[in-house]
Structure formats: C-alpha cells, structure tokens
Symmetry: none
Subunit: 206 residues, 4 copies
C-alpha cells in the first residue's frame, strides 16, 4: 500500500465539522459583506477554525466558495427530493420552456443564491480554470436538461431535426444569463416568455 506523500494532507483525518463550518461561514459572509470583502481570515474566524485548516484543503478563496456553493446546491436539490431532475414534458414545448425559465427568473432573484453565484461567475470570467469548473459542475448539468427536452421535441417533430440542441438552448438561456450577469436589461416573466417565442418561431416572417 502506498504511503502518503508527506506534503499531501490525509483526507481520512479531515474534520467534517470544520468543513461544514467553513462552508457556512463562507456563504454567509459573501451574502453579508460581498465577495471582495470576504476574507480567508474572516471565514476562519467566523467558522471558529484556524486559517491553516482552510489553506490545508483549499488553494484559494474562490475554491472554498465554489465547493461551498456546490454543496449548497447539492443540498437544495436533495431537499427538493428530486431524482436527477428533468424538464417536464407536457407536449407543449413553448409552455414547458416558459415555465422553466420563469422558475429560473425566481431563482436568480433569490438572495441566498445570488451573492455566491455572482461572485463565482465574476471570478470565473477572469480565472479561466475556475470558470471552467464552475461551468462543468454547475451550469452544464442544468443546460443538459434543455438538451434532453429539445431532443424529445425533435422526436415528436416540434423542433426541426437538423437543429443542434446544445446551441439552440442558448437562444433563450444566454440572453437571460447576460441580462443577469451584466445588467443589460430587466428580467421579467414577460421577457423570458418573449425569448421562447422568438427562438421557436424566428425573427423572419413565414
């Protein structure tokens, strides 16, 4: 059996209690004082933990927050008692998409999610490695649900068969994302409904 490299922390001895306390403190601080004023020292002291315990397990503030947020999302999903989760399929694609987007609008204004996810998104813009992890672990799994729903629609002929669903979904998801990220416009149910209509039927007359 291989020995541990001397410089690699021994995960088996890791304190679960500290890990949880750090997640909680990080999320709370980001919500309360914002990401830039959230400091490692602040997290440590709020969590009742030595700074070294943070530096031992995470390379940066952003990584702490990413893990904390993943954990939070995981919990939230569990709490909702959901299996892998899918977008409902009532047969009416437009209605189904509008519903999901309306739910997303609600979620984007939930302050518990807003502060950390904005912080992570911002960090990801400037830190490619973290950005890609953010996308792979949080965003892409959600986008995949749209892929699935669009593929189902293709099978029933509601979406043209030559369409690439991974690109198609961006027609309504990305506009919402950009308005949220960059404050380029208001975010309302009406707006997302419109996006779905435009995307499904196109801008050109028929």
């Amino acid at each position: 059996m291989a020995k541990n490299q001397s410089s690699v922390p021994d995960t088996s001895r890791r304190s679960e209690r500290s890990r949880r306390a750090i997640y909680d403190a990080a999320l709370a601080l980001v919500a309360e004082v914002g990401y830039p004023k959230t400091t490692i020292e602040g997290i440590a002291s709020r969590a009742g933990v030595g700074k070294q315990t943070i530096y031992r397990w995470w390379p940066s503030k952003a990584d702490v927050l990413l893990e904390a947020f993943l954990d939070l999302s995981g919990q939230a999903a569990e709490a909702a008692g959901q299996e892998p989760y899918t977008i409902p399929d009532t047969g009416d694609l437009a209605a189904d998409l509008k519903n999901v987007l309306r739910a997303t609008v609600d979620e984007l204004s939930n302050p518990a999610f807003e502060a950390p996810s904005r912080a992570l998104a911002a960090e990801g813009v400037v830190n490619e490695e973290l950005g890609r992890r953010f996308v792979a672990q949080l965003l892409e799994p959600q986008l995949q649900l749209y892929v699935d729903r669009l593929r189902a629609a293709q099978e029933t002929g509601k979406v043209r068969p030559d369409i690439d669903p991974r690109i198609a979904l961006e027609l309504f998801v990305s506009p919402l994302a950009q308005r949220w990220l960059q404050y380029t416009g208001p975010i309302t149910y009406e707006y997302t409904d419109t996006l779905v209509d435009y995307a499904l039927h196109g801008l050109a007359p028929r």
Copy 2:
C-alpha cells in the same frame, strides 16, 4: 458661478501627461499580471506618478481601468477612421449579421482588448454600479447598431413587425457573449453563423 469647493479637484490644472501615463500603465499591468494583481501602487509606480494623483481623479482601480479602456476604444475607433459606425445594409440581413458577428469573434480574441474587457466585465458582475456604466458606455452603443439594422429589416419586411429589436438581437449576441464570458463553449465563425440562422428562422418547423 460658485467657486470650487476646496475638496473638488480643479480639472483645468490636471496634468494630461499623468493621465495618459496612468491609462497606459493600467492597461499594461492588467494585460501582464491580470486584474487582481494590478494595484494602485503598481499603476502609480509604473506611470511614474504619485498615488495621490490617482486617488485625486478616480475613486477606484476599476474606474481607472474603465476610463482607460474607454479611451483605448475611442482611439481604436478613431484610428479606424469611422464615423459613428453602423452595421452595413446589403439587403441580405443574414449575411450582414454574420459578418458583424465574425468581426466580433475576431475582436474577442484580440489580446489587447481581452484582458481589460474581461476584467471590467468581471468587476461589473459583482459591482452593479460599475457594471451599469460599463454597459451604458461600451456595450449598449454597440447593441444599438443591431437595433438599427433590425429596424431597417423590419421596414423592408425581412423581420416581422411585431418583433422588439432590442430583445431580438440578444438571440444571437448573448450566446456569443456567454460563451466568451463563461467558457461555456467554443467560439467560431461556424457557431455565430449558426446562431444567426437559428434566430432568423426559429427552431420550430415551418
């Protein structure tokens, strides 16, 4: 006319040489070491300027960079010898949009623009006030060009009259923006061409 409040700097005495040196230093540093490692002290020392000269004229690092970038963009536009700028109208809407988006793809990979604009975008995600200024001064004027082109297309019946152009443009602009900001997918001419096609003709069969 009222006298200057003692705490309000007298713009007329401002050193143009220092202002330029600060812009140059800020842009160079962001490109070289990244936004988070760009410090006011670093900018001052690189520009051969006292720190106070920066604090006198700008409230924050982000503001320095925003102004420096606006200045840079202004110069670039001037250098291109352009009047206010418009999207060409050859009568073929799809082709025109594809061309502009292809140009945007090129610009997004220009390293001189990438570092500072990513930095500003990231800061804007987390700092609403700056974000709105970034959008109002840089992004929105460019989006307006699409609004104009789409309105022209509506007049010639190439776009349905009930379409809101400000929303419509997001169908192809936002996906590109999101891929660039969040690394959610590759950015190619083929991709942007596809976006235009999907947006104009919709996902649903006709």
Copy 3:
C-alpha cells in the same frame, strides 16, 4: 547632492511621535509580559502604530528594544543632571569603589531597568552582533569610568603601576554581573564590599 537610495527610508520624514510611542510600548510590554511574549504586533498595537512603521525602521524586535533602552538610559542620565559622569575620587579607592558598586546593586534591582536589560543581555548572549552593540553602547562606557578611577589610583600609588585597569576592574565587576545574569548567588552590599577588598588585597597572604 546624492539622491536617496530608493529602498532607504527617508529619515527626515520620520514621525517622532511614532518613534516615542514605540519605545514606550516596547519597554512597557517587556516589563509586563516578558521579552519572549513581547511581539512586534503587540508593540505596534500598543503604540497605535502600523506594523510596517516598525519594520521600516528596525530590523528586529531586539533592535527596537535596544534603542528604546538606550533612549531610556539617556533620559535617565539627563534627568540625573549629570555631566559625562565619573566615579568620585575621595582619595579612598576602596570606599569609592564600594559606593559605586552599592549603587549598581540598587540599580540592578530596579524593575524598570531589570526587565529590558535582562532581555537584551540574554539576546546578546546568543546574537553576537547585538551583544557587541549592547556592550559598546551601554556597558563599555560605564566600565570606562572604572578604568579612569583606577588610573587615577595608579598615579597616587594606590594601585600597582603594572596593573591593566581594564582587566583589573573585572575582578569586582564581573562577579557581580555573573551573579545577576546567572543567579549564581545573592547580591548584597556585603558581597560587593567583599569583592572590593579581595580584589585590592588579593587572596594570598602578604
């Protein structure tokens, strides 16, 4: 005129108020919690000063304390209204020496001097460079007074002319120093009187 080296602090701008506050804090802390528990952070915070202000002007805790103590000694000497100071010469060498040593015994038990001078002595034992400065700036000037007095005694025939006064003084000064430094024995007037007698007349019968 030569310019400042860029890395050398500009003494002319130094804050006298901070310097004094640092001296006071350092001496107070050494007296209250002992040298090892006296920290740079503690001194800074007690003095109401940034840590960097200490690091800017002194290379180590020991140097701060040495300067603070020199300052204190300087003040004390001034307060005593003394000219350069000499050992009185009443013509009775033994009596003069006993008097000075008795005064030294008193001083050694003065708590205001004891804590910092012990700390500096200890540091000097293990840090030769500091030790030599401690000796050159504090100890040797005092020993020189004995040299002068002994030389005067040689001129009046009270001390043999072949004696080296710098060594001779150690016969009574060093034993006292050692008892104080190393707790090798009690320190009393009787003890120092005895040292003078032994040193002047020798151990061997005449």
Copy 4:
C-alpha cells in the same frame, strides 16, 4: 501505593530510543540553525518522533535542551574516564589555577559545547527557574572544584584563612564568564593567567 494519575506519564514504558533521538536532534539543531530557530516540530521531525512524545516528557524546548546538554556533559566526563573530578594540586596554586582556566578557555571555544551552552545561558538569564537549574546542575558542581582547591590552599597557608573560597573563585572565574557571555573582551591564555595573578596578589601595592 496509589496508581498513577492518568495524566502522569508512566516512565517505565518510556522509549529509550526516542529519548536519545530527541537529545541528538536537539543538540544538532541548536548547533546548526541556532537556538531561536530550533523548534519543537523540528526536533520531533529530525528525531523521527511525534510531537506529543516531546510534550509528554518535557515542558519546554529549553528543558529538552538542558537535559540533552546534561546528558552530553555526562557522557563527555565518562569518556574522559574521570572519577568525580578534581583540580590537581601540585602545591603551586597559581599554576594549578592557570592550567584549569586554560582548559576552560579551550572548552569555551569548542563548538559542540558552545552553541547549546550559550543557548541555555541565554534562556537562563530571562527565565529564572531554568537559570537556577542550569547553575545547580552544571555550573555549581564545577565551581565547587575551585572551592575545594582553594580550601586546600588555605590549609597550606597559600590563601588567607579569612577568605571565603566561594566568593574568591569568582575573582578569576566570573571575568572569564562575562567575556564569554557578553563579548566584553578577548579570551586568551594570557588573559586568564593575568586574572589569576591579579586575584592572588591584589591590585594594591604591598
């Protein structure tokens, strides 16, 4: 007889191998990097021992070193094949003392002894309790040898009978000690010879 309190380590189970490794590591580190940079962690890791094993048996770094040094001195004495040890008595007191002091001069410049004994002396200056133990266990036994030799000299009339030998020895031992501890002067055979002469015959003319 009562059982061991749970908090009192059971000496009988103590690992001899660890004890020795700790002594060796402590002495080596003090010699190599100096006392202040010698840390408990460093000793433990160098000795291949858990930190707790050190904390279980010694209350502080200084205590480890004191014991290690006592052990080393014990070994050295044994290696020299000496019984309790005495100062030789050739009948010529001055010569005998000069010889012993010359040997001490040699020992003081032995680097194997110098680093730890300086460290302990320094610690003892500032930590009375340890200082007293250092003196009682290491210094006083050696000084006692001078007491014995001086008493023998008193019996043969070479030293005045009213002299207190414990004080008398300080006339030549303490000056050497002070020069060594505080770098107040060079340490040579000539110097120690001079000390003996001055001490025996006094400074005053006869």
